[in-house]
Amino acid sequence: MSDAVAVQHPMQVPSGWRPRLSAGWVGGVILLLIALPCFLTLPWALERFDLHRMDEGMQLLPPSWAEPMGTDLFGQSVMWRSLMGGAISLGIGGCAALISVFIGVTWGATAGYVGGRVDSAMMRVVDVLYGLPYILLVVLMNLALRPFVESGFKWAGLDESAASGMSGIVTLLVAIGGVSWLTMARVIRGQVLSLRSQPFMEAARAVGTGHMRTLIVHLLPNLIGPIVVYATLTVPQAILQESFLSFLGIGVQAPIPSWGNLASEGLPQLHKMATHAKSVEWWLLLFPCLLLGLTLMGLNFLGDALRNRLDPKRVKT
């Protein structure tokens, strides 16, 4: 098949393709094994655990049949907190990736389609934003948006504590999504620039198709491949950003768990191990980090596999 046909029909399966065990499949399986339980158990996690309770006598217990991942300083189950934290981290990562896809595709497609000075101006904005430290941008956006979001939740009927917690999560995912769209914008712009001169685009212009319809009906389907690929790669990036910020204490705030702040709580154990301390609560660090690491690995494997399948430049004739 020619590259042009491949570009126009990115979802067409090459002949002779047979499913085989690959990194992509492994990644997908890992993701299912971790992400599914996190989301499926969320109702029980929310219902069963009062995140503010302290269980006397249950503090810092090592893993056992009753508590497979042990308990923390406040007697809370590390397993349930890790599952709930996973749902939050994955949710933030996924939503942030969706936001970045939306902004990136809109920005990049518009710039590529319009071209000229508009394209130059829009891409200069991207260049400037690229040069700014993303953590600073995330923190500033978080600070600026949070009061409004919190007011919105209170107006919607949530109590102060829930509104505060939810607003922290929502503003974080908006902030991460708000700074993660730059690569997507560049890639989409490049794709649109190359598609603009294709015969089907000329045909669309010739029959008088409007700009919006051209973008949505003709261009967008041909961009699905790169969008899916980069969206898949943006998700682990967003999860890592959230985890990093929560680890530093400026993302999701305890007692609401996320893999990042759970790892942060477990970090002193690393030092205790290094100093040969008599009691080391290793489970506080191991399980959140393991879950985060495996999830990121799975997402990256999946993203790589999808890129290999769908990236037009990689498809062999």
Partner: protein, 601 residues
């Protein structure tokens, strides 16, 4: 030459040069250090500034007290704590009515050499009596927003009037420091006379307290707003390096006067080897190297590696260092580590801003917030039981401490707390809003403590959110009355109950020491009585009465009185626990050879 190489080599060169410069910085430090004995320590919070006028925290005081001197100091070895002359030549002469103190200064005290002394080509000039008057006027000058005015407020004749005068000045530059104060007189260069408005039995203690240290006018005028970063004192050390947030290095002040190590102390000092340096000229160590490490774990690792000579024990490593019988573990004994334990003259609490419309006007709420706290659990989880539960304001070693104080709300009772929450809601007129607790630290222990408070209050139906910031930022927030509830405490400046009770004296509100902005006319009246009384059973009774009223009002959540566990290596000699541990580095000595043998440094 290929284009890539043309671009690459200047970048590579830049990196190499940068690396060399960084390395050279280290080598330069090493070259400076050659031939000097250096003690290595660490602090876990940032130093806000070293200007005595505005110093108010133990971290900054601990550092700056090695650079600045006061008129009096505590004897290093004797217990109970005893004041001795420092910059003063002798103890003050007091008039019969107890209102006039005449102090003779030593004639051999010079400020350290500094470029601010332009008239003497950078050579430090002699300290004179007028330097104290100038320094204290800076505290009184309202334009400086000093947090230490409470020390002198209402005490010295004409001084309150001077403070009022400073309010009328348009700007800092308009304040005339030559304006006389009736109660502060430099009789001559070496004689200072203080005339009081009313008896002030603790005055000599406060003349040993760092804010009363003398600073040179030349330095203040030369450095302006930067003076707090550029101390110029008369002390045994001078500031060599201050990389903010990272390192402080002090070196021996070559113009420090002759001060000798004490030749007498307590009965056990000789056996402990603390009189071996009797009669030697101070300071005994040339250089003090302090690293700022906010996280406790890296600090511990450095201590265990022998990179620090002295340090505390983080909560997570307590069982590594201390056995269940509260002795040092054999492993550390073998490493040459020595354990020192002492009761600190300190009380810790979580203060309420009593001007906050919610907390200040709702006593049932404050009672509930005290009842919800399990202090025994707090001590176990966060302090390894290094302390005792605080039921009152005064710590055990201060006269007036009452172990039988009537304090029904500083106990742990969640059922009563829930009842009090209902009362609080009734008083408020509805569900209580979220309360913000500000913690003065961002390390993992602070965050765990914050979570513990959230959970403790959630248990009784109270909503609390926690914000974390570094210590100087929190102090600033408290100073400007914008913190609703905050982590705080008080370590005694002087061994007298007045030092604690002035924290609850109405006129001392923020930016003064009464950062809870607590106001109670009955408490104020009692304070005004005890402040002018000499120690006596009658005074102790009044102190207890005052403390009871404060505890009844609960302007804070009382938590603990601390017991301090300090570790130091056996190559650090002369260490003796001292509650008023300011300016004590000059007495310590180092067995550099032993340290070299043990850790190669």
């Amino acid at each position: 030459m290929r284009r890539e190489v043309l671009i690459a080599w200047p970048i590579a060169l830049l990196l190499v040069v940068s690396g060399l410069m960084l390395g050279c910085n280290g080598e330069g430090d090493a070259a400076d250090e050659a031939g000097m004995t250096t003690t290595y320590g660490a602090i876990s919070s940032k130093v806000r500034g070293m200007d005595p006028m505005d110093i108010g925290d133990t971290t900054s005081s601990g550092i700056a007290s090695n650079i600045y001197d006061c008129l009096y100091q505590y004897h290093y070895l004797k217990r109970p704590y005893e004041l001795i002359p420092n910059l003063a030549a002798e103890m003050p002469t007091v008039s019969e009515d107890g209102l006039t103190y005449t102090i003779k200064l030593r004639d051999d005290v010079y400020f350290q050499d500094d470029p601010c002394f332009t008239e003497t080509d950078g050579k430090g000039r002699k300290l004179v009596a007028d330097d104290f008057i100038y320094s204290w006027k800076r505290i009184a000058d309202i334009k400086n927003i000093s947090k230490n005015w409470w020390i002198f407020d209402g005490k010295i004749k004409g001084f309150d009037e001077f403070r009022e005068y400073t309010k009328t000045a348009e700007s800092k530059a308009d304040v005339d420091y030559s304006r006389p104060v009736a109660g502060l007189e430099a009789v001559d260069d070496t004689t200072l006379r203080i005339t009081l408005v009313k008896p002030w039995p603790q005055v000599v203690y406060y003349l040993a307290h760092l804010p009363s240290a003398a600073v040179p006018r030349e330095a203040v005028e030369h450095y302006g707003d930067e003076f707090l970063n550029h101390p110029v004192g008369t002390g045994p050390y001078q500031l060599k390096t201050w990389r903010h947030g990272s390192k402080i290095v002090m070196e021996r002040n070559p113009t420090f006067r002759e001060v000798l190590y004490p030749s007498e102390g307590d009965p056990d000092d000789e056996a402990a080897g603390r009189l071996a340096d009797a009669g030697k000229r101070l300071p005994l160590i040339d250089r003090i190297d302090i690293t700022i490490i906010e996280e406790s774990q890296p600090l511990w690792l450095k201590l265990m590696a022998g990179d620090l000579d002295i340090g505390g024990i983080p909560k997570d490593n307590f069982d590594t260092a201390i056995s269940p019988t509260r002795d040092l573990t054999p492993e550390l004994v073998e490493q040459g580590v020595v354990l020192e334990v002492y009761e600190d003259a300190a009380t810790y609490w979580y203060g309420f801003n009593m001007e906050d419309p919610l907390l200040g006007n709702n006593k049932p709420l404050r009672q509930a917030m005290n009842l919800a706290i399990d202090r025994a659990d707090f001590l176990k989880k966060f302090m390894n039981n290094r302390g005792v539960e605080a039921r009152g304001v005064l710590p055990p070693m201060i006269a007036g401490y009452d172990e039988d104080i009537d304090s029904p709300y500083t106990v742990y009772d969640t059922e009563l707390a829930k009842q009090k929450v209902k009362e609080a809601e009734a008083e408020y007129g509805g569900p209580l809003p979220m309360i913000t607790l500000t913690m003065g630290g961002t390390d993992s222990t602070q965050r765990q403590t914050g979570q513990w408070f959230i959970r403790s209050y959630e248990n009784v139906g109270l909503k609390v959110e926690v914000e974390y910031m570094d210590w100087p930022s929190m102090q600033e927030k408290v100073k400007t009355k914008s913190a609703q509830m905050y982590s705080m405490g008080w370590v005694a400046d002087i061994p007298d109950a007045e030092n604690f009770m002035q924290l609850f004296y109405g006129p001392n509100g923020s930016p003064g020491a009464n950062n809870m902005n607590y106001k109670n006319p009955e408490v104020d009246a009692l304070y005004e009585k005890i402040a002018v009384m000499d120690e006596s059973p009658e005074r102790v009774a009044l102190v207890r009465e005052m403390q009871q009223k404060v505890v009844d009002d609960l302007p804070c959540v009382l938590t603990i009185h601390r017991v301090v566990f300090i570790l130091h290596y056996d190559w650090l000699n002369n260490y003796k626990p001292h509650v008023f541990q300011y300016g004590l580095a000059k007495y310590r000595n180092l067995d550099a050879e032993l340290r070299q043998q043990r850790v190669g440094r």
